[in-house]
């Protein structure tokens, strides 16, 4: 049900994977799991190799350095991270689009909590690897989404808001469930894996943002 193979979602589902490709996937999955717990410096190549069930030298054969491995994992994570943005489309009514976006993002925090945490680590580090792609690729995407917001506002479908600030708050609130899961669990003793808590969270965040959009 919940996907574990990151790259298989990012690449074409049709192309059959070679044995080497599958090995790369296993290594990437192990690296994501360990890097997302303690950051890059919190996990050693020994442990990643152990988790992926390959020798360390073999791992280095596929990814020539730790930095290269980290970058490969992060690029997969960024692809996944971008997915939900598709729903922000001028053809959709804003309330529906944003409600769908929120649900997808909170589902992402549940199904890919490790990816969300690793992304958070990278940003905390100052985005040494993703910085260029954020400026070069995400920024134009955001400009496009900002124009969608402007069209929604101009047509009177929603109250005027700063689209950038609005997205920052959307990302913050939805990703919080993955990145701060241990704090939430300490205070609420709840997890997104509890379907009731998942739905409560979606309902709360949706109500928060839709109240603001009311024209």
């Amino acid at each position: 049900m919940r996907c574990c193979w990151i790259s298989s979602m990012a690449t074409q589902a049709l192309k059959p994977l070679s044995k080497a490709d599958r090995k790369r996937e296993v290594i990437l999955a192990a690296a994501l799991e360990l890097f997302s717990r303690g950051g890059v410096d919190g996990a050693s190549l020994d442990r990643v190799a152990e988790r992926a069930d390959v020798s360390k030298t073999n791992l280095i054969y596929y990814y020539p350095s730790k930095d290269a491995l980290y970058a490969a994992v992060l690029n997969n994570v960024l692809s996944l991270w971008l997915g939900p943005l598709d729903v922000i489309d001028p053809a959709n009514p804003p309330q529906q689009a944003i409600a769908s976006y929120i649900r997808q993002k909170i589902a992402f925090s549940r199904d890919h909590a490790d990816a969300s945490r690793l992304f958070c680590f990278e940003i905390l580090y100052g985005a040494p690897v993703l910085g260029n792609r954020l400026r070069g690729m995400l920024q134009p995407v955001m400009e496009e989404k900002a124009r969608v917001f402007e069209s929604w506002i101009a047509s009177g479908q929603m109250a005027p808001v700063d689209p950038y600030q609005f997205f920052y708050s959307l990302w913050a609130t939805t990703q919080h469930f993955a990145d701060f899961a241990s704090q939430i669990e300490a205070l609420s003793q709840r997890t997104l894996d509890d379907p009731a808590f998942f739905e409560e969270s979606v309902a709360h965040v949706t109500a928060l943002f839709l109240a603001r959009l009311r024209p």
Copy 2:
């Protein structure tokens, strides 16, 4: 104006600091600066000592292990983090209290971005050091604040909301400005040190939450 000495805010301002105490402060400040960049594992004691302008052995004299140093820094950070919660008081009207809380939290993200990032690192790690204090100390505080919300709701001063979910969203949106500053800067080319962006951010987040509270 903006305070750099973490501990001096947590301890009594009256008690004069001994030479040793001042040295501890310098070490803690250096450790916060470096740990908040790369996490605990991203900084070495050598570099912390270098930054604090003490020898490594001398550093270890004051903090017997890296874990002890990390725990000391984190405890200071938690004290700072708790401060703004005081404004959530049944005597205040909810809109005013929450607006004040938001402004304080965003100011915290500006003035103590490193503390916010280190706190975020710790939670990402799974709260190995703060977990017990979150459960043992923060949880009762939150129960008290939840009762304040209930009293506000019961008196018709605000719309009914889940206080816990509400706080999670408040923390997420306000801390986001510190923890995800590099992403925001990549997309908006703005920083909280820009007073205009600071005020825009406060206005945006305040409008978001107050719209939700309208009875």
